[in-house]
Symmetry: C2
Subunit: 338 residues, 2 copies
């Protein structure tokens, strides 16, 4: 258990990245009780400064001895960095909340979405893993459905924004789109193909079973978070030319008899969910509307016309906020509220 | 049966639209044996001229008496126009190939994809309906699977380009994207919301069951074309910021035991299909690669990891060509080849 204090020493590893910057923003917005803030990044970014609560904070190089006196470290610098530095942080008595995929599926490491499984955080946590963005928004919506109707199978197709690939991908979509509109060619760098005005059915590497790592994250992480390995999941993850927020078309089959109106009622009462579902008035969740919002937006809730005991919905959330930085800070809030 | 001739008098109703223009292009490309070409459109467009085989053809106003002496009329001017004028064309002994939704589900009207159900065209056809774009590319891929394994259920999510909404939507995506990149606001006109850098889970009007007309077209047309009302289909149709070609993530459950490799083999032998499926080398169907191609491209063929007797694939095709103009002209080719 983290020692109860008025204010906590917090470190952000990977502070200069898209998610790291979002973490600083959200720590301020939510008035997280920060005593001292340490910004950590690679040697290349050390010396830069970022603003926090109106003051400049100089970025330091991330080292094994960076965590002395730190209570909570938020990691978002990739799986390799987490594997290299998180154990040292834990040895310094620091709780690590890790946004990378490094420890998510490791036994004994809690994988947490605070609205879904806060109790997975044990008494003496070392590393707590933050799930993948496409998983988080889906499980927030699935949780009350699973509790009430028991989910058997999920078929999900995603429409994921480029910010999930970091700042360089945001620049690539912007610059490539401008070049194409100007009638010029534009060679892709971040993605293997043009992302502007195109859809790529390819996120992260392909595995031998024909699925991508991103797709298998949705399968394995959802089972771990909902603590039920019997849930069957079939995902297709697709990158689309959108800057922020992921959208997902979700089909859910349940053991119990389910209806769209029961799901609408359940989700309307679910913390962290905002139901936007009046399609005849053109109201449904949209990527551009979810941008910079905390909620997971759900709409187009309807009975499956192809099968009994099944429903469809459309779920949208800001992948940098609820899908990453916000969820990590909500985990920190659970920690300090105990 | 259409009278056998060396060359045929052909009319195109809706000649100035995105699909109408594509029809002219394809009639030329495929050397369709046109004797005389009549271009028809609303009074507003009459007097314009379009090029055909290097000559200018003046667009005439579409009227009830426009079809005297015409053998084949290709209609693509919306359901209202088809309902108003197609019966007159048929009375003039003209075979109508109608790209609108007007007659698709009418009993006795064949709904035809030439690679799938050419025999649906009877001996003495009056109107032959061309299916909806999102249906055509899916059924071309489903047909051999249904024949061999019997399809029970399909869950499909679409990624549809703006050209499906016509020329004005193409302009809207282009102009709106430029305005947004310039930091300006841009009010939507064609769509109810911003389409640039966004995904709209809304194509055509919403019905009382919570599905859109576009979604129900995929259900009803697929059953009619495959001549099997037992096939269950659950679609989510989504507009994405892509100019040309629709992409679809398709999950198929079958009665017979199916494998991805069997599907790959079947589809490799299927007329009109091009399998692009080497994901580890970044090869899978892409909207920008399908543009201006005739084939239906299929890739990411993989066993469903959530259920026995099920597979997934990703299917992409140029919605203005195979999804509309090309399919209509292929129907005309079936007619004259008999």
């Amino acid at each position: 258990m983290i020692e109860k204090k008025e204010r906590y020493n917090v470190a952000v590893a990977g502070a200069t990245g898209a998610v790291g910057r979002k973490m600083l923003e959200i720590l301020q917005e939510r008035n997280f009780p920060v005593e001292h803030l340490k910004l950590l990044a690679s040697a290349r970014s050390a010396g830069k400064s970022l603003e926090f609560r109106g003051e400049k904070v100089v970025v330091e190089e991330l080292r094994q001895d960076s965590f002395a006196g730190v209570d909570i470290a938020l990691f978002s610098a990739g799986a390799g960095v987490s594997r290299e530095f998180a154990p040292s942080a834990v040895k310094s008595n620091c709780v690590v909340i890790d946004n990378s995929s490094a420890f998510r599926m490791e036994e004994g490491i809690p994988l947490v979405v605070p609205e879904v499984n806060p109790d997975a955080i044990g008494k003496d946590p070392g590393i707590i893993a933050n799930p993948n963005c496409s998983t988080i928004q889906m499980v927030v919506a699935l949780k009350p459905i699973h509790d009430k109707f028991k989910i058997k199978r999920v078929v999900v197709s995603t429409y994921q924004s480029v910010s999930g690939s970091g700042q360089k991908a945001i620049e690539e979509l912007k610059n490539q789109t401008q070049e194409l509109l100007n009638g010029n060619e534009s060679k892709p760098h971040v993605y293997p193909h043009q992302i502007s005005f195109n859809c790529l059915p390819h996120i992260d590497n392909f595995l031998d079973n024909g699925y991508t790592k991103e797709e298998m994250k949705m399968v394995n992480e959802t089972r771990k978070i909902l603590a039920d390995d019997s849930i069957q999941i079939c995902p297709t993850t697709v990158r689309v030319p959108v800057f922020y927020s992921h959208s997902e078309a979700v089909n859910v089959e349940t053991e119990g008899p389910i209806t769209a109106s029961a799901v609408r009622e359940l989700l309307s009462a679910q913390a962290g969910v905002c139901v936007v579902d009046d399609p005849k008035n053109n109201l449904y969740p949209l990527a551009i509307a979810a941008e910079d919002k905390d909620d997971v937006f759900v709409g187009r809730i309807r009975d499956d016309i192809s099968r009994e005991r099944a429903v469809n919905f459309w779920v949208v959330s800001d992948n940098l906020r609820k899908g990453a930085a916000l969820n990590a800070i909500q985990i920190a809030e659970v920690l300090i509220s105990r």
